[in-house]
Amino acid sequence: MIDLLTGVLSTALLAGGVLVLGALGEVLAERVGVFNLGLEGLFALGGVTAIIAVAHGANPLAGLLAAIVVGGAFGMVFAGAVVVLRANQTLCGLALTIAGSGLASAAGRGYSGQPARAVFAGVAIPGLSELPVLGRAVFSQNPLVYVIWIVLPLALHWLLYRTRHGMNLRAVGENPAAADAAGVKVGLLRFGYVVAGAAFAGAAGGYLTLAFVPSWSDGITGGRGWIAVALVIFAGFRPLNATLGAFMFGVITALGFVGQARNWPVPPAVLSMLPYLGTIACMIVPALLAGRTGQRLMAPAALGVPYFRDER
């Protein structure tokens, strides 16, 4: 039983890290009013980039950095289309997913199935890693896990809710016209945070192939990008809630395998579906809660709406 708890917790943290990174990136983009449906494609691009990078350099940090840069570069293309040219965000996001997945698949042909040359290996923290359950589950993880689960969510929370810049940023997502009138550079903020969000998604892909699996195969993202998008809505567009949600998804994913190992009387196909069933459940819950919590978990008012200064 103790082993089981350790296993679930450990896998949840490891697996959920991908979702945390993706969801935090999406929070940034959506907070400035841009709906990025391209996460799935960005995950794939980041993943394959990281694998190719370590195959040539054998340094996991360089691999992750390459994934971030590629994610950001594709983010610029996307931001150029939806912020500068004001193209339809839904269509551009879908295009990014399709193009990104296809491109990653083509680029990764020669690397499919081969274990990563360099990975983010777990590091046992002296003393703490001896603790029961938490020792192996929490204090023997690779260093990225702490950055992803603690540092980044707190930093983004602080940025969004404790700084003037964060207030401006949220204002751009809520009412760009008012923000513009107050002297906030709407276009610049939107562009910058969409690119930053895409870089987060690239990092999520790199984390997937360098820390979690660790290898590349076509279709390795397995819909995680979509789960991350759903997670952001479920979390009311808040970084800390999104992190909690990602943890829940990590647990659900891990339970699917534990369920089979423990012979729960559920068909394996259903257990494999758990994360996706969980997504649907998560989309329903906020809708039911909407009446009670009111405005608190609502989407940014200008989400998905291109901003034209002339129409003020």
Binding site: G7, S112, G113, Q114, F212, V213, G222, T253, F257, P268
Partner: protein
């Protein structure tokens, strides 16, 4: 026919049978064989289920292609990787025909998706790996993987302390049932109380799921892993957790040098070259399933560092006996529900082993278990 009935919907079997019958009525000449082809005009196709870079299943078939290429360098080769189990497969097979292929190796079972094309392309000879039906221009082939699986099981039984073995399975198909059963029978021959836990991940190639399944098995007390994945993800997990593991397809010990016990290694080169030779010389005959035996297409790999000397000796003694014709697959064998399925003294035939679709006593996690 019994074998086919259990695996495929009846309607399908009737259709396939009808097509075979119709084919032989309309084209009696076809059954007589295919005309010889000059090597420089020959077109040989290979259709794979995975990427040739997988260092596993598809890589082993790619080795087969390379061997044929070496034997017939003048021939033209068509190779398509990662063909999905969908209408895309049908399109790919049709493409082989359009390009004038004389012989096509389909290195995984595509069933209807293939037969719909091959039954109309009677000038092309088809070989379907792990297939379940033949026609006037199509055969199937596979390996007697249960023999080395049993040998590896003996080693696993000797090396396991808890007696709990774990298996990372793809789908509930005969290859998986048979691999699990043979491995556990081998283990039980030296450790009668051994049991086997199976996790099915619904894919042949999903390093992510395989790694998680391996982790869950080890967390649940399994101290030797086996599986049938086309890549080495669960070996990496085993290495990290200090648990020995048996693999499939190729030698992948470099991904877990301390854990590696052995692998069910495949070698298609001899068979592929022989089939190509027969087709080019005009002596290729369809309709005869081929099961490559141990030492002739499938074997255990050279033992890994994790395997102690006495264990190697004991397992290899069984292997030597098998090479001389011994089969351990003799009744009485009970299924997981305790019902006797193979009566005492009865020997399972190769086709029964090939089509095994129930788990033996001691297996959990597979349907019927």
């Amino acid at each position: 026919m019994d074998l086919v009935n259990r695996r495929l919907p009846r309607r399908l079997v009737l259709q396939a049978g009808g097509l075979v019958a119709a084919g032989s009525l309309i084209r009696p000449a076809q059954a007589a064989g295919f005309a010889a082809v000059k090597p420089e005009q020959a077109v040989i196709g290979f259709g794979h289920v995975g990427p040739i870079s997988d260092e596993g299943w598809t890589a082993s078939h790619h080795q087969g292609l390379l061997a044929v290429k070496q034997a017939y360098p003048q021939a033209k080769f068509l190779e398509v990787e990662s063909i999905p189990y969908s209408a895309d497969a049908t399109r790919t097979f049709r493409q082989f025909v359009a390009q004038g292929a004389h012989l096509v190796f389909v290195t995984s079972e595509y069933g209807d998706l293939l037969h719909g094309v091959s039954d109309r392309a009677t000038d092309t000879a088809w070989l379907e790996c792990n297939g379940h039906s033949a026609a006037s221009n199509r055969s199937w082939y596979y390996v007697k993987h249960w023999l080395p699986s049993y040998v590896a099981g003996v080693a696993a039984g000797l090396m396991s302390k808890s007696g709990k073995l774990g298996y990372v399975g793809s789908m509930p198909v005969p290859t998986v049932y048979c691999g699990v059963n043979a491995f556990l029978m081998g283990a039980r021959s030296v450790k009668p109380e051994a049991t086997m836990q199976v996790i099915v991940i619904n894919s042949w190639f999903d390093p992510q799921a395989a790694a998680q399944a391996g982790t869950a098995l080890i967390d649940n007390g399994c101290d030797v892993l086996f599986g049938v994945m086309d890549e080495a993800a669960y070996l990496q997990v085993a290495e990290k957790r200090g648990v020995p593991a048996v693999m499939w397809n190729t030698d992948v010990r470099r991904y877990g040098p301390k854990s590696y016990i052995s692998s069910i290694v495949l070698d298609w080169t001899k068979f592929y070259v022989a089939q190509t030779k027969a087709r080019l010389e005009g002596s290729w005959t369809p309709g005869q399933p081929v099961l490559l035996s141990m030492g002739d297409g499938v074997d255990r790999d050279a033992w890994g560092d994790s395997v102690p000397g006495p264990v190697r000796a004991q397992a290899d003694a069984v292997r030597t006996r098998m090479l001389a014709g011994y089969t351990p697959f003799v009744g009485e064998i009970k299924d997981a529900g305790g019902r006797v399925r193979v009566p005492a003294g009865k020997t399972m035939t190769d086709l029964e082993l090939y089509g095994w679709n129930w788990p033996i006593e001691g297996v959990s996690g597979l349907r019927g278990a």
